[in-house]
C-alpha cells in the first residue's frame, strides 16, 4: 500500500489558529445590532401545578421587549419521536426545580434579570418523586399523566438460555452496583443567539452538537417551515453529549426573538448549565455473572434502573444501550436484561460520553474481577479466555467487523508491567485492569428513515480551492480536521487547499450530528466517496487532455502524474481547470448510510446498539490507597484503544486521554448531590471535575485493527475509553487494600467504611504490614 500524505499524520487541528488567538467565535462571543438579552424564569418547586402566571409587571418594566410563557409556544418536542413531552415553557406543571416557566428579552441582561423577579407564578405544589425505586412504585401524582407508575420505558431481553447456563456455572457472583449522577460540565456554558431577520426568517447560532435536530425542533415549536429557518453552529466549547439534544434555551431564544421581532441572545450561567444537565443518570444495577470452571463467561443477567429525571430526553436509548452493550464486549452466549427508565422530579438525564455503557461496564468489569479471583485466575487471563472472533454476530445481533481487544489487553498489560505488579505490590498499592467498547455511530437514526446519515458536497472552482460542505459538527473532537485530511489525501492536495464550510443548514447538507461517535466513520466515509468522485473527474479530464488511460494516473502533493510516463505531470490548479472545462463544473456529493447487515436484530429495542463497527479499549490503573484517610492517589493509567486506524494520532490520543480523565472523575470524585430535587453542588467549585493535580499520567496506546468498512480503516476514538477507567480503578483499589467498592464515586468515606467493615469481620485484627491483601 502506498504511504499516505495526510492520513495517519499527527496534524494540528485546522481550527487551532482561531482558538489560540482568541479570535474564533463561540456563540456567546457573537453580538448583532439591536440584540436583546434573554433570561429564563425557572421553577422553584420540584413538582407543582401552575395555576396562573402574571407577567404584566414584567412587561411594564422599561427595557423589556418581550415576555414569553408556555402559551406562546405550546407544541411539545423531544429528541426521540416517542418522547415529545417537553415544552419551551411549562404549560400546566413544573416538573423539576429549574424547569422552564417563562422568559424575558430586554435591552440588558440586568433588566431581563430584574423583570424575572416581577413575574408572578401561582404554583400549587404537588407531592414529588426523588428516589427512582420509590418513584417506580407510585400509584398517584405521576409526573406525566401518560406515564403510569412513573416508568418512562422498560425493556426485557433474553438471548440464549441464561437460567440453564447459570445452573451449569461453576462460579456465580451476584452484586448490586450504584452509580451516582454525573454531568458533562463542558467548559462552555450553553448559549444561543436567535436573530429575527427583516424578511421574516429566523437565523439561530447555537452551541449545539446537533444543528439539524435543532432545526426541526425550532420549526415545530415556532410553527415555521424549516425552509425559513437557518441554524449555524459556531465554535462549540465541548459537548460530551450535553449539547446533543435540544436544550431549553435553544428554543426559548427563538420564541422570544419571534415575539420581539428582534435578535435575542441567551447564555446560561454555570448554575443553569447544571440544571439543564442531560447527563448520566443514577444507575442501580443488579448484576449476575456465571463462569465455567475453565473461566468462560457462561451467562450474564442484569436488572438496571436508571433515574431519568423529569423528561424523556434520550432515556429509552440510554437504557437500551446499557442492555445492548452489556454482553457484547466478550463472547457471552446467554444474556438476560431488564432495563427500567424511571421518571423523577429532577432535571432530565440524557446522553453523556459513553452513553448508556459506562455504569453497567463498571458493574460487569468489577464482577469479572471477583470471578477471576474466585476461579484463581489472573484478571488478564480471564479476559483472554472470553474474546470474540471477528467477524461475528453477537448473541444479541450486533455485527462485529473488527476486534482489536486482544491486542489492547496485551499492550496495556505489557506497558503497565502487569505481570510484575499484580498482587505483588506492597499493601496499599495496587493495579487493576478493565475493558470497554463503544459504537462508531448508531446504525439506525433517531428518526427512522432510509436516508443517508451524512451527506457532503465538494466543489472545486477555477481558483482550484477545494471546498468541502459538511453538516458534521466540530465540537472540539477534531472532526473538521479529519474530514479535511480525508479529502486532501484522496485528491492528493495540500491541506491548505481544503476549505471547510460546516454545520450551517443553509449551506451544508444534513449530517445527523456529533453524538454516538459517528462522525469519523460516517462523515468520513461520505467525504471519501465525494473526494473519489472528484478525483475521477479530474483524472478523466487529465487523461483526455494528455491522451492517456485515467487508470495510470495518481495524485499527490498538488500534482497529477502518470505512473507509466514520467513526462506526464500536471499541477492541481491546471488539472482542476481542465476538469471544469471538460465537465462544466467540478462538484461531487458523497453520502453514507450503514449497511443493512449492520442494523441489528428484530426484537423490540433492537434498533439501539447496532453500529457499523465498534471500538475496543483495555486499561490498567496503578494507584495507592491511604488506609488512614481513604484517599486514593492514581499514579498512572495505561490506556490502549482500538480505533481501527488513527487518521490523526494526535487527536486520537487527545480523545483517549480526555475520555480516561473523564472516567477518572466519575470514578473518584464527581457526583451531583441532590436534596429533595435541589442540586447541592451546582458549581465547578463543588462539582469537582479533576484538575491537573488530580489527573495522573495517562499513557495512551493506539491499536489499529483496520476496520473493513471504516474510512481508511478508522472507527470510534472519542468515547469508548471512558468506561474502562472506572472499573479499572475499582479493581486496583481491591488489589491495593482488598476491599470492593460497588458505589460511585469511590470516595475516601466509602473506602474507610469498607476497610473498617473488613477489620470488624476479622475480629479487629488488621494485618497492615503483611498485606491485608485478600
Amino acid at each position: 500500500m502506498a504511504s499516505h500524505s495526510h492520513i495517519g499524520k499527527p496534524l494540528p487541528m485546522t481550527d487551532a489558529p482561531g482558538k489560540v488567538t482568541g479570535l474564533g467565535k463561540y456563540a456567546d462571543d457573537l453580538t448583532v445590532t439591536g440584540m436583546l438579552y434573554g433570561k429564563i424564569l425557572h421553577s422553584v418547586h420540584p413538582h407543582a401545578r401552575i395555576r396562573a402566571i402574571d407577567t404584566s409587571k414584567a412587561e411594564a418594566l422599561p427595557g423589556v421587549k418581550a415576555v414569553a410563557t408556555g402559551k406562546d409556544a405550546p407544541n411539545p418536542y423531544g429528541i426521540l419521536p416517542i418522547g415529545h413531552d417537553e415544552r419551551v415553557f411549562a404549560l400546566d406543571k413544573a416538573r423539576y426545580i429549574g424547569d422552564n416557566v417563562a422568559a424575558v428579552a430586554a435591552t440588558s441582561a440586568e433588566i431581563a434579570e430584574a423583570a424575572l423577579d416581577l413575574i408572578d407564578v401561582d404554583y400549587e405544589p404537588l407531592p414529588a418523586w426523588f428516589d427512582p425505586l420509590e418513584s417506580m412504585q407510585a400509584t398517584s401524582n405521576w409526573i406525566h399523566e401518560q406515564k403510569p407508575g412513573n416508568v418512562e420505558k422498560e425493556y426485557h431481553h433474553e438471548f440464549g438460555n441464561p437460567e440453564q447456563a447459570f445452573a451449569e456455572s461453576a462460579f456465580i457472583r451476584e452484586e448490586r452496583y450504584y452509580a451516582g449522577e454525573v454531568t458533562h460540565a463542558a467548559m462552555e456554558p450553553h448559549s444561543t443567539l436567535a436573530i429575527w431577520e427583516p424578511d421574516g426568517r429566523l437565523t439561530v447560532h447555537s452551541s449545539t452538537q446537533v444543528p439539524y435536530y435543532l432545526h426541526r425542533t425550532i420549526a415545530e415549536v415556532c410553527e415555521m417551515p424549516m425552509s425559513q429557518i437557518r441554524i449555524i453552529k459556531p465554535l462549540v466549547g465541548g459537548g460530551f453529549g450535553g449539547k446533543s439534544e435540544v436544550i431549553p434555551l435553544e428554543v426559548a431564544a427563538p420564541v422570544l426573538a419571534k415575539k420581539a421581532r428582534r435578535p435575542v441572545k441567551i447564555t446560561y450561567t454555570r448554575e443553569e448549565v447544571f440544571y439543564a444537565h442531560r447527563g448520566r443518570p443514577i444507575t442501580i444495577a443488579d448484576l449476575k455473572v456465571g463462569l465455567t470452571r475453565e473461566g468462560k463467561i457462561n451467562a450474564v443477567a442484569a436488572r438496571v434502573v436508571q433515574d431519568g429525571g423529569a423528561y424523556c430526553g434520550y432515556g429509552p436509548v440510554t437504557v437500551l444501550y446499557s442492555g445492548a452493550l452489556l454482553g457484547a464486549l466478550y463472547d457471552i452466549p446467554n444474556v438476560r436484561y431488564d432495563g427500567y427508565r424511571v421518571l423523577t422530579n429532577k432535571p432530565a438525564c440524557g446522553a453523556m460520553r459513553g452513553h448508556g455503557t459506562v455504569n453497567v461496564r463498571f458493574a460487569f468489569e468489577s464482577t469479572l474481577d471477583q470471578l477471576a479471583h474466585d476461579a484463581g485466575m489472573d484478571p488478564v487471563e480471564i479476559r483472554r479466555r472470553n474474546l470474540l472472533k471477528a467477524p461475528c454476530i453477537t448473541v444479541n445481533g450486533l455485527r462485529v467487523t473488527s476486534y482489536g481487544l486482544p491486542e489492547c489487553i496485551e499492550k496495556a498489560a505489557e506497558r503497565s508491567g502487569w505481570a510484575e505488579k499484580k498482587g505483588k505490590l506492597p499493601y496499599g498499592r495496587g493495579v487493576g485492569i478493565a475493558c470497554s467498547h463503544y459504537v462508531s455511530g448508531a446504525a439506525n437514526p433517531i428518526i427512522r428513515s432510509n436516508m443517508p446519515h451524512t451527506t457532503v458536497n465538494i466543489k472545486v472552482d477555477r481558483d482550484a480551492a477545494v471546498t468541502l460542505f459538511t453538516g458534521a459538527s466540530e465540537i472540539g473532537q477534531g472532526s473538521d480536521t479529519i474530514q479535511a485530511q480525508i479529502v486532501a489525501e484522496v485528491l492528493g492536495v495540500k491541506m491548505e487547499r481544503i476549505k471547510l464550510v460546516a454545520a450551517d443548514t443553509d449551506l451544508t447538507p444534513v449530517d445527523l450530528g456529533s453524538y454516538s461517535s459517528r462522525v469519523t466513520f460516517m462523515a468520513g466515509n461520505a467525504c471519501l466517496e465525494a473526494a473519489k468522485n472528484i478525483r475521477a473527474q479530474v483524472f478523466a479530464a487529465v487523461a483526455k487532455k494528455s491522451g492517456c488511460d485515467p487508470a495510470v494516473l495518481e495524485a499527490r502533493d498538488d500534482f497529477i502524474f502518470s505512473t507509466r510516463d514520467p513526462g506526464l505531470r500536471m499541477n492541481f490548479d491546471e488539472a482542476a481547470v481542465a476538469a471544469i472545462d471538460f465537465h462544466g463544473a467540478l462538484v461531487a456529493t458523497g453520502t453514507y448510510a450503514p449497511p443493512e447487515e449492520a442494523r441489528g436484530g428484530k426484537h423490540k429495542g433492537a434498533g439501539v446498539g447496532p453500529s457499523p463497527s465498534y471500538s475496543y479499549s483495555a486499561q490498567v490503573v496503578e494507584l495507592s490507597v491511604d488506609t488512614e484517610t481513604g484517599q486514593v492517589r492514581v499514579h498512572r493509567i495505561v490506556a490502549a484503544h482500538d480505533c481501527g486506524k488513527a487518521l490523526n494520532p494526535l487527536t486520537v490520543e487527545g480523545q483517549i486521554e480526555g475520555s480516561v480523565y473523564m472516567g477518572l472523575g466519575q470514578a473518584l470524585q464527581e457526583e451531583m448531590i441532590w436534596n429533595e430535587g435541589r442540586l447541592m453542588n451546582p458549581s465547578l467549585l463543588e462539582y469537582r471535575t479533576p484538575t491537573t493535580l488530580e489527573t495522573p499520567e495517562i499513557e495512551s496506546i493506539i491499536v489499529e485493527s483496520n476496520d473493513p468498512e471504516g474510512p481508511f480503516g478508522a472507527k470510534e476514538a472519542g468515547e469508548g475509553s471512558l468506561a474502562a477507567t472506572i472499573p479499572a480503578v475499582a479493581n486496583a483499589i481491591y488489589d491495593a487494600v482488598g476491599v470492593r467498592i460497588n458505589s460511585l464515586p469511590i470516595t475516601p468515606e466509602k473506602i474507610l467504611a469498607a476497610l473498617r467493615e473488613k477489620e470488624k469481620q476479622r475480629g479487629g485484627k488488621v494485618a497492615r504490614s503483611n498485606g491485608g491483601r485478600r
Partner: protein, 168 residues
Amino acid sequence: MNKELIRLKVNGEVHEVAVPPHKLLLDVLREDLGLTGAKRGCDDSSCGCCAVLVDSVAILSCVAIASCYQDAEIVTVEGIAPPGTLDPVQEGYALAGGAQCGYCTPGFLICTKALLARHPHPTLEEIRVALSSNLCRCTGYMQIYESVQLAIERAQAREAAKPAPVGR
C-alpha cells in the same frame, strides 16, 4: 444606571469607556471592547477561562472590577503576540493538541505565559501546579503539558535564531 468613564490600557492600546462602577473587567473586555478571547466558564471564579495578564501576572477577570485596573498593563489572549503572528505558547498549544474545543485555551495560554515569564524552564510538576486553577474538560491535560514543553522549545529556538547584538 450611573456610568463612569474609565481608561483601560489593553494590549498596548488605551480605551476610554463609560461603564457602571461595578462592572467586571471580563464584561468590559467582552462587551465594551469586543475582546471576546477571555471566556466566562463559571459563576464563582472556579474555572480559569477568563484569565488575563495584569502587569504580567495572571488574574481572573471575572472577579476583577474594571475600574480598579486603570493604571495597569492589561494583556488578553488577543494581545500576547502582534497581529498575524503567534507567540511560542500559542504555537505550542496549536501544534501539540493543547486546544481541543479551545474554550479553556485563552485561560491556559495566559497562565502559561505568566508561568514562563517568571520561570522559563519549569519542571513538569511546576507546570502542573501553575495550571492547577485552570479547568479543561477535553484534554485530560497530557497534551497541555506537551504544548507547554513545545512552547518552551520554540521560545528557545527563537532566542537562538536571533541575530547577535551588534558590536560584540
